[in-house]
């Protein structure tokens, strides 16, 4: 086996192990609370916590680059940039709307 093949194999194994480790150790916040109450306040199993635009801005923009300063662009400019990033970076419609609203309210 060539050295480069070994390195490649080692890299793939490392990435796989690392990905599984991250997945196993993930402490990411749950969006849905499964708490049910016996105190008469009702069932909270369907209670959903929506992420704010600020949180989504921090989480999604930094997947490729630093999260942008909201004051860098005007409201209409953020509108176009939001659509551009939605297409290019694979943001969902809901994420795009919340992030753009946050940036427009914070500039």
């Amino acid at each position: 086996m060539k050295i480069t093949s070994k390195i490649k194999l080692l890299s793939i194994l490392t990435i796989t192990v690392f990905s599984l480790t991250i997945y196993g150790c993930s402490t990411s916040s749950k969006a849905v609370s499964n708490t049910s109450s016996d105190d008469g306040l009702g069932d909270f199993s369907s209670f959903t916590v929506e992420k704010s635009g600020a949180v989504l801005w921090g989480e999604n923009c930094s997947r490729c680059h630093n999260a942008p300063d909201p004051t860098a662009f005007s409201d209409v400019q953020w509108d176009a940039i939001g659509n551009h990033m939605r297409v290019r970076a694979g943001l969902t419609a809901s994420e795009t709307e919340k992030i753009v609203t946050f940036l427009q309210q914070s500039n």
């Binding site: 490649k8 991250i22 921090g58 176009a80 940039i81 943001l91």
Partner: protein
Amino acid sequence: MKKAFSILVLTLTFYGLSNAQSYNDEIKEDLDYIKPGTTNFLMRGYSHSGYQSVDGNGSFVSGQFAPIMLWQHGDKLLFESELEIEFEGDGVQFALEYANISYILNDYATLRVGNFLTPFGAFNDRIHPAWINKLSTAPLGMGHDPVGPTTEFGAELRGASDLGKSKINYSFYLSNGSILSVHDEDSTEAPTTSLTGLNFEDNNNEKALGGRFGFLPFNNSSLELGISAQYTSNIGDRNSELGEIGALNYAFDMSYVKNSIASIKGNLDLKAQWNQANVDEFEVVLPDGDELIFKQETSAYYGQIAYRPSLVSSPFLSRLEFVGRFSGIDLPEPAEEHGDEEAAVNSKLLSSRFLPVSQIFNPEVGGGEEGEEEVHNEGDRTQIAFGVNYWLSWRSVIKFTYQVTDSDEESVPGFYLHYALGF
């Protein structure tokens, strides 16, 4: 006296009213000017410049100016185009990187037509701009002349959706595909071959089918795993003597980005990608009657780690970022001369390989996004690179990069000090 006083009051009142009216008109004009219309034009982009020394040859470089034009009509129609303007050789080189129109069909799908960057892995599509790429150079086989497709002329359906607590994004496209070119075919020397995506008038009737699927398993979008592929049943010219030659390219990519991790007092950014390009075996008959068999299997890969101590109290340290990257490229074996094993051993390493276009035409210089792949022209290569970045703002950075590229014949050091700006 009373009459004169009345006239004075009336005059002042009229003067005041007319001034107020004039002021209101000016405000209205200003508001009308900034009132959003149904169309919106915006220029964004990036640039870089600096100093670099590759294998002891130092030079200041005035890098590239890459404006991205965005034009939006309403909420659904978006035009995007990127120019790349840079000094190269004896003059200025202009290139149209891409130009396409997107129409948002619904919350889950966008139709894009025209010329677009191939969603093949993540580096080419998302990370290559100078202010986003954390090192001054691109990984081997991932830059301007990558292993695998880089640009398409076609139609694409792409989008994203939540999937429970996870998220997916996808892209499927139909395009003209790549062109297989054989250079110096009439020479008795072994010819060179290349693949290029600049297939704006399709060279045959077969279309390429491809796409990328991205999966973000965590609720915080920190991890993304991607798989990409492209297949075309023919990349040769129509009526070519080469016959129908198919190509299958595929890639895997991984990204993990987590900011403000308390235990390490900072941000962690991991990236990895592996590209594989396979072309069906084909023969080229030389003028002297010899036949060369080309088996084109090329791969490139890289892994990168970046750490920024953003949570430390020192403002200076919190702006620093430390980067390490390992990358490599495996080129195909030399072409074999049909029925002549001895000749196969002696076949020309460079000329019979499947090389990026710029390296074929100018193998000593190489192409160049930010000094990419400067000297090397043949053989498998690996590269290790280290970088220290200082972020002046969220979109401007001073990048110091040191890298060593190893091949069978040589080891080439490179040093880069670049300033990159996104605008």
